[in-house]
């Protein structure tokens, strides 16, 4: 039966790809809190984040067969789907209010990450941090704000009162430095 060997997220996704609802159920229970955290970070509005989370999992159900473990870890793949759905929704909201800072963290454990996965995630995370540290502080903080708050070039320019062209140039150079540091 399913419960015996299929504990890693990769194995669960492979079974979801075949239409296993048991695996989908287990995947939800393992990752929903983490993915909801990501949706809420981008969207702030709780109802919006709930809708985004719903879209995340219906997408995972449909696209699980496209997951390729040689290209990304399941953790990253799922997290990026969550972020993409949240950004997509954010862009679709016509009038956006200024985001308040959010402190909703409830210190939940993430049962989806087994120790080896956590170790790999920590290594990837450390590598990214290492490369970010090499960026000029201003580029670094801009890229961070863009990524975590889902701010567009225009919004960033307004926020820090700098010309749009300057912002674009800083971020593009920062991205290219990151690419060189992190590899293809």
């Amino acid at each position: 039966m399913l419960e015996t060997n299929a504990t890693s997220l990769e194995a669960l996704l492979a079974q979801v790809a075949l239409g296993s609802r048991d695996a989908f159920d287990a995947l939800y229970r393992s990752t929903a809190n983490r993915l909801f955290g990501i949706c809420l970070r981008v969207l702030a509005e709780r109802a919006e984040a709930e809708d985004a989370l719903q879209e995340v999992f219906t997408t995972v159900w449909r696209k699980a067969a496209q997951f390729d473990p040689t290209k990304a870890s399941a953790t990253t793949w799922l997290a990026m789907i969550a972020r993409n759905k949240a950004i997509d929704r954010l862009r679709s909201i016509p009038t956006r209010q200024a985001r308040a800072s959010i402190e909703l963290a409830e210190d939940l454990e993430d049962p989806g990450a087994s120790p080896p996965q956590q170790a790999q995630a920590a290594t990837d995370r450390a590598q990214l941090e290492n490369c970010l540290e090499r960026l000029e502080p201003r580029r670094r903080s801009l890229i961070r704000a863009a990524f975590f708050d889902g701010l567009t070039y225009e919004e960033l320019a307004t926020k820090i009162e700098a010309p749009l062209g300057t912002i674009k140039s800083w971020i593009r150079r920062g991205l290219m430095q990151l690419r060189e540091c992190l590899g293809p």
């Binding site: 039966m1 015996t4 296993s20 709930e50 473990p69 070039y153 991205l175």
Partner: protein
């Protein structure tokens, strides 16, 4: 590092400008594009494989950042809404623990059937006589001392826990003997296709599997290494044409871990 053979725009690390597509893919993943540019890039991800590849690379580079975000308890009602959206009966699978005990009872009920069917598979292997009719179920355990070389049996169970097929894997020969518990054909005319899913990898089709006849499936050589404990055998309903398919598209009707 800079090679004179690089095409225009593909400069090495010291080069002046990276290719614009890579910038765009990075901007797309970073989330700085406005709605118009964002939608245009999104459309390209769906239609332009090379661009989708660049986006995937950026997701891999920046994705680990998302580990910094603290989990927040997902509201209870979301699971029900997901089930409703997928057209499922949400009450059947609430994300609580109750189904696990239910699963225990299902397993207990099914166990005797599995044991009996295992005896049948075993006798089929010894006799080497393929049959079109599965004999009536006899509630006898298999012989206590199987012959040397007896193969382990994997039940492929339906969602309710009842067995749909029994698979006897011979990894040395690269074959799988499939014994169905006879069932009705799909009302929509779809066929039953067998899949082998190595742990953490994409499913591979092993071709059609019968719903009322037992026979031996020969596994393609390049996937024989996956005939090991931990891989999954599963049967899905698929369109009758184009078998073996590259990837499953229909619902899973039975599965089991080798």
């Amino acid at each position: 590092m800079n090679s004179p053979n690089l095409p225009p725009g593909e400069s090495g690390p010291e080069g002046p400008e990276p290719p614009p597509d890579d910038v765009l893919a990075g901007e797309f993943v970073l989330g700085v594009l406005d709605i118009v540019q964002y939608r245009a890039a999104q459309a390209r991800v769906d239609s332009d494989h090379a661009f989708a590849q660049r986006v995937a690379e950026w997701e891999r580079r920046l994705g680990p950042w998302l580990a910094d975000i603290e989990p927040v308890k997902a509201p209870e009602q979301v699971w029900g809404r997901i089930c409703a959206r997928l057209g499922w009966n949400e009450g059947a699978r609430a994300p609580s623990g109750f189904w696990q005990s239910l699963g225990f009872w299902r397993a207990a009920t099914v166990l005797s059937t599995v044991v009996a069917l295992a005896a049948i598979v075993w006798s089929l292997q010894i006799a080497h006589t393929p049959t079109s009719q599965v004999p009536p179920i006899v509630l006898q355990p298999p012989p206590a001392q199987p012959e040397p070389g007896a193969k382990p049996v994997t039940p492929l169970s339906h969602d309710d826990g009842t067995p749909g097929w029994l698979a006897s894997v011979d990894s040395s020969r690269g074959t799988v003997l499939m014994v169905p518990v006879p069932s009705a054909p799909d009302s929509q005319g779809r066929v039953t296709e067998l899949w082998l899913i190595p742990a953490g990898k994409a499913p591979r089709s092993l071709g059609l599997v019968s719903i009322n006849k037992s026979y031996t499936v020969t596994v393609p050589e390049d996937v024989r290494a996956a005939l090991v404990a931990g891989s999954v055998l599963a049967v899905t309903l698929e369109p009758a044409t184009g078998v073996p398919h590259a990837a499953p598209s229909g619902p899973i009707i039975a599965k089991g871990v080798i």
